[in-house]
Structure formats: C-alpha cells, structure tokens
C-alpha cells in the first residue's frame, strides 16, 4: 500500500509518465505465438531433435521420462504423463510471456521481448547475474555453470527464422500438426474453436491465455493441466507488475526525500549555537 501511494506520486512525475506511455504502446504490438495441442502430440520428439540441430546443441537422450526438464543443453523436452484419460504427452519450453518476468528483471536488457513475440537473450549485454532465473515463474532460463564464458540457454522461438518470415523449426517439423504458429489472437480463436467443436476431447482451459498475464505459447489438453505437471496456481496477472509499485515509488523518493532532509537539517541547525556541523 505504501508503495502504491508513492507509486501514484511517481506516476505523476516525468519518469513515471514515460514508463507508462512506453508500456501502453507496447501492448498494441500483436505478438506471434504457438498453439500446442497435446491431444495431437504422439510423443515422437521430432521437435526435440530438430531444436537441438537448429541451435547447435547435443542430440537429446533416448529415454523419455515423466519429469525431464529443459537445461543448458536442451531448450525443449516432451514429457509423458499417465493421466485419468490415459497417456498424455506434453512439450515444455520457454512460454514467451507477453510481459516476461525475465525481461523486466534484466538490468542490461539482455533478455528482450521482441515484436515478433520471441523472448531472446543477448550475450553482448548479459552480465550473468542470473536475476532472470530467479524471477522466471517457469524456471526457464538456464545458465552454463561449468563454462568460463557462460551463456543463458532457453528457447528463442527461432527468432532468426521468425525475422525471415519462417515458422519456428519445431512447428515446421511436427509430423502430426500438434504445433501451430501464428498471431496470438488467432491462436486463441483456433483453440476456442477446437474446444467448442470437440468438448468431450478437450479440457475447457487454454493454458497461457491468462496465466502470468498471458503467454506466447498456448496449451490445449484432454486433462486438467495439474495432471501434466503444469503450475496452475500462478497468478493471472503479469509478473513485472509485482515490482511496479516499488519502481514507481523510486523517482518520488529520490526527488522528495532530499528536500525533506534538507528542511530538517535547516530546522535543527538553527536550534543550536554556532557550533560547526561538518568535520
């Protein structure tokens, strides 16, 4: 509350104004995303192999276990879960949030949400503080702890292909159309249509539509997402908003506290004799 009041003051100040104007213009960009339909996924892991090849990473291991996680050598994994509706596969990678926590956390703008929708990492800016990893609600950025020139590894939604107008390599190579690339708004429409047409097949929830303020990757599943190891308790609003109150209070404190202190200084100084203050 304290920070919210201060934040309101800060908003009125020039710096706050600029920040809010910037975020307003940003929200008008229409991001690309990917719709992943786990009812169509057969767990072939072609996406994993193609991703590794495209990003120059080692080939994935053969075994498929329930709880593999992405790591510094692997940007995406397909896991299998025994659920109330039988075996279901689920692909995991960076969610490419609309308002990514990692991007807000980064003090050098090395983590950046591009206008194509991809959240990418820039090694020329990153100082390796790993605050992105602390902030990411999905634990996606991975750090090369055993490298003297460590990089942050994560899915970049094939940003270089995107800029050439191509689809991400996992989408292009999926043999069963489980992945669909497009404007996020169109993907949500498509997901709704699928749920509407086959209500028995789908669980009525598009994961990523609202989670953490909306993500670039959207998920459809036959079962509730808890059964697939997805975190469904995450807040429905953006993560960077958690620090906004504090950030907006900074300019007001920086500008209002010094005159206040100066006033107290002047007031108490006059009460004393001509003793010297500074030593």
């Amino acid at each position: 509350m304290f920070f919210k009041v201060l934040g309101a003051t800060g908003l009125a100040l020039a710096i706050g104004k600029r920040t809010s104007a910037k975020s307003a213009s940003k929200s008008e960009v229409e991001f690309n995303g990917v719709l992943y339909d786990s009812t169509r996924c057969v767990g072939c892991r072609t996406c994993e192999y193609e991703c590794a090849t495209a990003h120059g990473l080692p080939a994935p291991t053969d075994k498929i276990e329930a709880v593999r996680k992405t790591d510094e050598t692997c940007n995406t994994v397909v896991n299998t879960f025994q659920t109330s509706k039988g075996e279901v596969f689920i692909k995991r990678q960076c969610m490419h949030c609309n308002e990514p926590a990692c991007g807000a956390a980064c003090l050098t703008q090395a983590m950046h949400k591009n206008e194509t929708g991809a959240v990418t990492w820039n090694g020329d800016k990153c100082m390796g503080c790993r605050y992105c990893m602390v902030s990411c609600p999905y634990d996606i950025p991975k750090f090369e702890f055993h490298n003297t020139n460590p990089k942050i590894q994560k899915c970049d939604m094939c940003f270089d292909r995107q800029t050439k107008g191509e689809k991400p390599t996992c989408v292009t190579n999926c043999p069963n159309d489980a992945l669909m690339y497009g404007k996020r708004r169109d993907l949500i429409k498509e997901a709704r249509r699928r749920i509407y047409e086959k209500p028995d097949l789908y669980n009525d929830h598009i994961y990523g539509e609202h989670e953490v303020g909306g993500t670039g990757w959207l998920y459809l599943s036959p079962v509730p997402f808890e059964e697939l190891g997805m975190n469904t308790t995450l807040q429905q609003s953006s993560y960077p908003a958690l620090t906004k109150g504090f950030l907006y209070s900074v300019p007001s404190v920086d500008l209002l506290l010094p005159p206040l202190l100066l006033g107290i200084y002047a007031a108490t100084k006059n009460n004393h004799s001509k003793e010297e203050e500074n030593e």
């Binding site: 990893m133 010094p258 108490t268 203050e277």
Partner: protein, 409 residues
C-alpha cells in the same frame, strides 16, 4: 610557497605510509596473532578458490543449481552484508540531519564500516557474475534496463558508495595533511549525507524488492508484497546493532587509537542506540504481525518452517527487543551488547530465510552452500577487516582529528 611545501610533505607522508603497509600487516602484538593465524590461511585459500572459479566456471566451486541460481554469495555477502551496513545512513541522519551531536564520535567509524562493507560485498558480486566483463553495461548507457529492480539497486549502490566516500574523505585528507582538500571535502559532507540517506532508503528496500518476482519460490511466511518495507525497517536496527557490536570490539582492539573523551562517550552512545533499536524493532514486529495476518498465514505455523519462523520472530526479534528496552531502563551495557548480538543473528536468519532457506523450500534437492563458497565468503570478510584495521591504525577515525582540521573550516 606554502603550497609546494604541503605537496612535498604530503607526497612524503603518503610514500611513508605505503612502505609502512607491509610492516604493519604483520602481527603487531599479542592481540593480533590469533586473528591472523585464522585469517591468513583462509584468505590464501579463498584466493586459490577464486582462481579456480574463473578458470573452470561458477559450478566448479559452488553448489548453485538451475533452480537456485543465487546462493550464499548473494544471500549472505550482498543482502545480509548491506543490511549490516545500514548503520551508516542511520547514524549520519542522526548526527548531521537531526543534529544529535553526542553521537558525533561514532560517525567516522560507522561510515568507514559502511563504505568497506559496500566495497567488499558488492565487490564480491563480481565473483558471482557469470560474465563480469559486462558489469559496466548497465552503467554506461548502451543498455539501460530501467524496468529492473536490480538496475536501480546497482545504480543506488554505486552512487551511495560515492556518497560514503565523500563523507569519509575528510579523514583521508587529515591523514595526508592536505588542508585544501579537507576544506573542500568537508563542505560536501551535508550534500553527501542527504543523498546518502535517500539512496540508502531505496537500495535497502530494493534488495527486498529484488525478490518480489520470486513470488512462487519463497515460502509464504517470508514472501509478501511488503518485503521492501520490512527490509528497510530491519536495516535500521541491523545497522545499529552492528555499530554497537563493532564499537565493542573496536574499543577493545584499538584502545590505543581512542582518546579519553570518546571512551567516556561510548557507553552513553550505546545506551542511546539501544532505545532506537528497541523502538524500530517494535515497529518491525508490528509490521511483521500485520503482514502475517494480512497473508492469512496461520495455516503455515504448525510446520517445521512455521517453527523456524516463530524462532526468528520470538527468539531473535522479540527477545532482543525486550532486552534492549530492559537494558535501556537499567542502563546495563552488557545486556545491550547481548541484545545486539541476538539481533544480528536474527537479521542473518531473516535475510537467509528469504534468499536461501525459504527459497525453493519445497524442492526435492535443497541448495546447501559448498565449503568452498563459505571459505570465499570468510576470505572476503577477513580481507575487509584487514583493510578496516589498516585504515583505523592510520587515519583519525576513532580518535581526534589533528588540531588544524578543527580550525580549517
């Protein structure tokens, strides 16, 4: 003519002290030996480990994982260390802004302590950075991440270190016998103090705000949207407890550098500080209680983490608070010191609970710092004490300024 004489004298004195450094670093008397016997091997081992860290990567000596990317070096060295350095902004506020003159004798040593804490613990941050050669990026303007709490903390750190250096610089000028510099630097003190307090209030709370986005990772008993306020309030009594503790040690160790007046004032100062500690700790407890109720946290109390939380709040906040109140009333210096130590333990617990112990508390494999991380941390602390000792033994920090400095206004 006078000027050139000063310059020569200054250069001479400067040179003399640098030569002196090496002889002074050796054990000087009986009281030095045990500390040196412990600290020298640890510092040497720490240097060796740092070499390995840059040679083979962070993973070679730390137990950090992909899920727990910040460990002891951030949670203790930076977050806890900076809380203890909070004494500098509180004491400068009291002495320069509120004009509480009777605390004047502890200003320099507190500011020096604060400055060294910042210099060393944020310096230790460079060990933790994976790509330290880019550390300048957020400063030089090609990549301002202005939406980042860490960006603000970094800037406030750097500016605050500058402010503290200016606050302390008259002592350096007195040591070097540079009258003109002394005059200029003394004139900058008030400005430095005002900006120092402002910057402090923001980065003390900013260190808490760093963890706001780790909402789902920190145990609910330690996570709330009020972490920044709690960190700010607790830095007041953390810093003052450090002042009491450090004053106790300094007065034993550096008795030859202290004049009689200061010696007599010391008990009165400790007495006064105990009251401030007690009151701020009371405010902190009330805040913690409000946050606890506001967060509907009763359900977590009957669990191991809940007991741990109660131990922190009762054993290391409530009890030292009552001790401070009690010893303020009875003017018992011994119990004030005891309370200060308990308070410091409580602050360490609190910062580690947010940053390490409560962070990913539900993970299957917990992060436990490796012995090598602990050795590097100890090496940093010991090196800081070495530098502290070196400065105390040379500059007018605990004792009187030279007589010319008092007239040189």
């Amino acid at each position: 003519m006078n000027n050139s004489a000063y310059t020569v004298a200054k250069a001479k004195e400067n040179k003399f002290d640098w030569q002196f450094l090496f002889s002074e670093l050796k054990p000087k008397g009986k009281w030095l030996t045990p500390f040196n016997i412990i600290s020298i091997p640890i510092i040497l081992l720490g240097i060796g480990l740092i070499v390995i860290r840059y040679w083979l990567g962070l993973g070679s000596i730390t137990n950090l994982t992909q899920e727990v990317p910040w460990g002891l070096w951030i949670g203790f060295d930076v977050v806890t260390g900076v809380a203890f350095a909070g004494g500098a902004y509180v004491v400068t506020f009291m002495v320069y802004i509120l004009n509480m003159k009777n605390y004047h004798s502890i200003v320099r040593v507190t500011v020096l302590n604060g400055f060294l804490a910042y210099a060393f613990y944020t310096g230790a941050l460079l060990l933790d950075l994976g790509r330290p050669w880019h550390v300048i990026n957020p400063m030089i303007g090609n990549s301002f991440g202005a939406s980042s709490v860490l960006f603000l903390v970094a800037w406030h750190f750097v500016l605050y270190m500058l402010a503290e250096l200016i606050e302390f610089s008259p002592a350096i000028a007195e040591w070097l016998g540079s009258r003109r510099a002394h005059k200029i630097l003394s004139g900058m003190t008030i400005a430095a103090v005002i900006f120092g307090i402002t910057l402090s209030s923001l980065h003390q709370s900013g260190l808490g705000a760093l963890y706001l986005m780790a909402k789902d990772k920190i145990h609910p008993l330690w996570y709330s949207e009020f972490i920044p306020v709690l960190f700010l309030v607790s830095s007041i009594f953390a810093g003052l407890s450090m002042v009491i503790f450090e004053g106790t040690i300094s007065h034993k160790v550096f008795f030859n550098r202290i004049n009689d007046k200061t010696e007599r004032a010391q008990n009165g100062i400790i007495h006064g500080l105990s009251k401030i500690c007690a009151v701020t700790m009371f405010a902190y407890l009330v805040l913690q209680f409000v946050v606890f109720i506001h967060g509907h946290n009763w359900g977590y109390i009957n669990s191991p983490m809940g007991y741990w939380f109660l131990l922190e709040m009762i054993g290391f906040v409530l009890i030292p608070m009552m001790l401070f109140f009690y010893s303020y009333r009875t003017a018992n210096i011994f119990t004030i010191r005891l309370a200060a130590i308990l308070t410091m333990i409580g602050v360490v617990m609190n910062r580690l609970n947010v940053t390490i112990i409560g962070f990913r508390w539900d993970a299957a494999i917990r992060y436990v710092p490796s012995w090598m991380e602990i050795v590097v941390t100890l090496a940093v602390i010991f090196t800081e004490i070495w530098v502290f000792r070196w400065i105390i033994n040379r500059m007018p920090v605990l004792g009187d300024s030279p007589s010319w400095a008092k007239e040189n206004k």
